[in-house]
């Protein structure tokens, strides 16, 4: 090669530009394409940003145990659309900011675009504006705040569970014929508690009963003596309770010590098995709306309870277990229908989907993505089939009666 040849500038042709562009694009796009291909063939990843430590850890532990059971059951049947499922658990500590961070990690690090298992309504509310950016779909299994499918509605969010207004509605329908005329309501001063109390107030007034007062106890409140005194003084015959977890146990324990149950009938929006287990005989006679009734006698529920008790040594599934199980069954049905785990295809498939699961038939209505669930009212009593008292069903209301107006937490047109 002569010196002239060495320094000669080779002419840039259109062909060489195209070749270089194609080679560069392939180099840049290859990892993403490979990742995409792997995502289409590997396990279906489901992100569970839940509460593992902190005040609501018990609800998170219920979500996780049922997810593990569902994985075992589903993988044994050959998975979903022929693919195994993989749950990715993250600890949000019940903090909305932490929840968003953990979801971001699931999206960016694990390429996980399906989210469920979120415990606190304020966490769910913080996630909604990010779903579009994340290209993710979020299915609520237990978030109660009525606004999530009303004014906060986003197309990538679905709620499979009974919401707080729906729970309050079922109870109000039951109370219409109850002997109690005057009520007082106590709720946790959080999004869910306020939503529940507001719905109860609207509903109980609609059936012609009186609501004497509404009490909002601070989140994580431990001493309820003042509120119990207030309830005693109100002269109410019935007390609506929208507290859960640590707050509910503290309230019922202290109410029992004051003999409040002998003077006032308690009605609660959520009957929780974990509370019944700890409260023992203090829980007997409690009437409440139940998001999931372990005693509901249909084949789907019998099979779930049987599998659950075999896996967890006769432990009784709680409402959170039943709700996450139902949510996952709806999710899998949507994936099967879409024949894909792509978020937007799941969204399309889930709109109008009807699935019969542990709570009976559920319709994921298209207009606001709220699952139309039946309303269960139960009374806590001893049951020969279970080691602890459980909620025995005293009334079931059809889903048309217990689901609010579209994109609303109200029942004006029902």
């Amino acid at each position: 090669m002569t010196t002239k040849d060495r320094y000669r500038v080779k002419a840039i042709t259109r062909r060489s530009v195209l070749e270089a562009t194609l080679a560069g694009s392939a180099l840049v796009a290859a990892p993403a394409l490979l990742r995409h291909a792997a995502a289409q063939q590997g396990p279906i990843k489901i992100g569970i940003p839940t509460v593992i430590t902190g005040g609501y850890a018990i609800l998170g532990s219920q979500v996780m145990r049922t997810c593990r059971l569902v994985k075992k059951m589903t993988d044994a049947k050959g998975g979903v659309i022929g693919r195994p499922i993989e749950f990715l658990f993250q600890d949000t500590q019940g903090d909305p900011a932490m929840c968003v961070r953990k979801c971001q990690e699931l999206i960016e690090r694990d390429n996980c675009r399906i989210l469920t298992g979120v415990i606190v309504s304020s966490e769910a509310a913080a996630m909604l504006p990010k779903l579009e950016e994340w290209n993710a779909v979020f299915l609520s299994h237990g978030n109660g705040d009525g606004r999530l499918t009303a004014e906060l509605f986003v197309p990538r969010f679905f709620r499979a569970n009974t919401s707080a207004p729906m729970g309050a509605r079922a109870l109000a329908l039951y109370l219409k014929d109850a002997p109690e005329k005057k009520f007082i309501a106590i709720a946790s001063d959080a999004a869910w508690g306020r939503s529940s109390n507001a719905a109860f107030e609207e509903q109980i007034k609609a059936v012609g009963k009186e609501l004497a007062d509404k009490i909002y106890a601070p989140v994580a409140n431990k001493d309820y003596s003042t509120y119990i005194t207030k309830i005693l003084q109100s002269g109410a015959q019935g007390c609506y309770v929208a507290l859960q977890g640590d707050e509910a146990r503290a309230f019922y324990s202290q109410a029992a010590q004051y003999g409040l149950a002998q003077r006032v009938q308690f009605f609660t929006e959520i009957v929780a098995q974990a509370d019944i287990k700890v409260l023992g005989k203090d829980s007997l006679g409690l009437v409440g709306s139940s998001r999931y009734a372990v005693t509901y006698d249909i084949p789907e529920n019998r099979a779930f309870v049987s599998a659950f008790q075999a896996e967890y040594k006769n432990e009784i599934p709680d409402w959170s277990d039943g709700e996450i199980y139902q949510a996952l069954m709806i999710l899998f049905a949507a994936i099967e229908k879409a024949k894909s785990a792509e978020p937007m295809k799941i969204v399309e498939a889930m709109e109008g989907l009807e699935v019969t699961s542990v709570k009976g038939p559920v319709l994921m209505r298209k207009c606001d993505h709220q699952g139309e669930n039946q309303g269960f009212v139960v009374k806590v009593a001893k049951n020969d089939k279970f080691a602890d008292p459980v909620g025995d069903i005293i009334k079931i209301y059809p889903r048309e009666m217990t689901t609010p107006d579209c994109r609303s937490a109200s029942f004006r047109n029902r």
């Binding site: 430590t53 005040g55 018990i58 994580a220 700890v278």
Partner: protein, 290 residues
Amino acid sequence: MNWFGFILAQCLNALSQASILFFIACGLTLIFGIMRIVNFAHGVIFMLGAYVGYTANVVTGSFLVSLIVAPIVVGLVGMAFEWTLLRHLYGRRDGGAYLLLIFGLAVVLSEVIRLIWGVQPLGTGIPDFLRGIVIILDQPFPLYRLFLIGLGVAAAIAIWQFLERTRAGLLIRAVSQNSEMVHALGTDVDMVRTGVFGFGCALAALGGVLATPLVTAFLGMGTSVVIDAFVIVIIGGMGSFLGSIIGSVLVAFVQVMGAYYFQDLALAFMYLLMLFVLIIRPGGLLGKED
């Protein structure tokens, strides 16, 4: 409505709440008084007391035995921690080392509790002899809360007498005022510190056992209680035993009355009270301004 009966019921509610707060705040202030460290693990120690008390109750079937066993076990855990880890930092001037070590203790203890007892809440209820209500001026009041008030008053008097009238109490007060002088006079100051740290932990544990019938034992039960305790100690004066009694009663009354009359501002009132006291007396009601 019997107005006098209502006020009396609210006062008794506040005193029963003050009793539990006193046990945790008193331990916190004693530890600060003698060691000049803020024990951020106190809430977790309160929780440990509740869980150990639960196990003692289940094993022996006696609530009263759990009231004795849990403080002893948790007190020994506290002494072991002070003896093996904390005392090696006394010579250091940077407060960060204490802070990290105590924060580490809180994290480790929380995880140990989770691993041993699990995440499920635990409750044993109250013994039959403390069940039932007493009618005071037409207002029902639980026997158990009267027991709490009685126990709180008895414990406050006993600790006060111990600090004021015994040689051990004299040594504790002396160490809190001038530990170098006490050491120069031949007293084993390290032993006094170990004992006081263990005693403070035992008091918190006793509070945990007493709180279990009210709230059940669960992970995180110490979080809000320890915040109340810090407010009490700041109001009463860091290191002041009498201040912890006054602070407990004030905070409990503000919480109870605030929750009844101004429920939306109930929490804010406690902090407003603290702010008010700090403006008037920056060292707390009975504390010293360093």
